[in-house]
């Protein structure tokens, strides 16, 4: 994702161009205490997800996979879940 290249002293000595991440490695995102509600209010966009999963399934079928294929079956299951969720609103 976001990295930048730095040529530090050590890298010059070693003759190797170092790549250093601009974010600390393996750091979690921390939410501003005052924005916790805003963060939690962001929920799944089920309609968009449904559209995307339908497209993925269409492409899997176009590639020759069948409904029995585990990847297609998973996508079908999620599509059903999303449709149900939209219906129940």
């Amino acid at each position: 994702m976001c990295k930048k290249e730095l040529e530090g002293k050590g890298s010059e000595q070693g003759g190797i161009k170092m790549s250093v991440m601009t974010k600390p490695v393996n750091v979690s995102l921390r939410v501003n205490e005052k924005k916790t509600k805003d963060f939690l209010s962001v929920t799944r966009d089920t309609n968009a997800m449904l559209k995307r999963f339908k497209f993925l399934k269409k492409m899997e079928l176009r590639a020759g996979k069948t409904e029995k294929d585990p990847d297609v079956a998973f996508l079908s299951g999620k599509i059903n879940d999303f449709e149900k969720e939209i219906e129940e609103r």
Partner: protein
């Protein structure tokens, strides 16, 4: 398109170029030995060309309220890169771009994992500035305004983004 683990198609990665030297170097030389991430390759049906690569890692999003800290389990898309020759290219007979297809397939892969093996409700990543609009189009939300203020200096030039699964 076929999705394979990098370890199963590693000879192909040497010809993968995304236009960013750092990312190319990571995928070609480090990804295979990175114990903190699993790398998936999105391949053409002929299994000869890598369209895109993504590296996934377990992580979390931390909230604090009334002195109580909570961690919401999340999957971090540590790296995502599209082959230079597929950038901006649409799939034959479709309006969709290869890049969107690969990113959405990554989300589906994550959901297979979180539904069946280890739960998590969110996905996050750090975007380079010029990829922000691509990720917004793919349903990611900008996290910058929600971020713990002290963390801002750590994310110079990076845009943290997240999605609720």
């Amino acid at each position: 398109m076929q999705v394979k683990l990098l370890k199963d198609v590693c000879p192909l990665i040497s010809s993968f170029h995304c236009g960013n030297k750092t990312l190319d170097e990571y995928f070609q030389n480090k990804a295979l030995d990175d114990d903190d991430a699993t790398t998936y390759c999105f391949l053409e049906e002929n299994l000869k060309t890598i369209i895109a690569v993504s590296s996934l890692s377990c992580n979390g999003i931390i909230t604090k309220s009334a002195n109580k800290m909570s961690t919401y389990p999340a999957v971090e898309i540590k790296m995502f890169a599209v082959n230079d020759s597929y950038k901006g290219k649409t799939i034959e007979g479709e309006e969709e771009h290869y890049s969107d297809w690969c990113f959405n397939s990554t989300i589906a892969k994550i959901m297979q994992f979180t539904d069946n093996y280890c739960g998590a409700s969110r996905v996050f990543l750090y975007s380079v500035p010029n990829a922000k609009h691509f990720y917004l189009r793919c349903g990611m939300h900008e996290f910058t305004d929600l971020m713990y203020p002290d963390d801002r200096p750590y994310f110079d030039r990076c845009i943290p983004m997240f999605m609720h699964l």
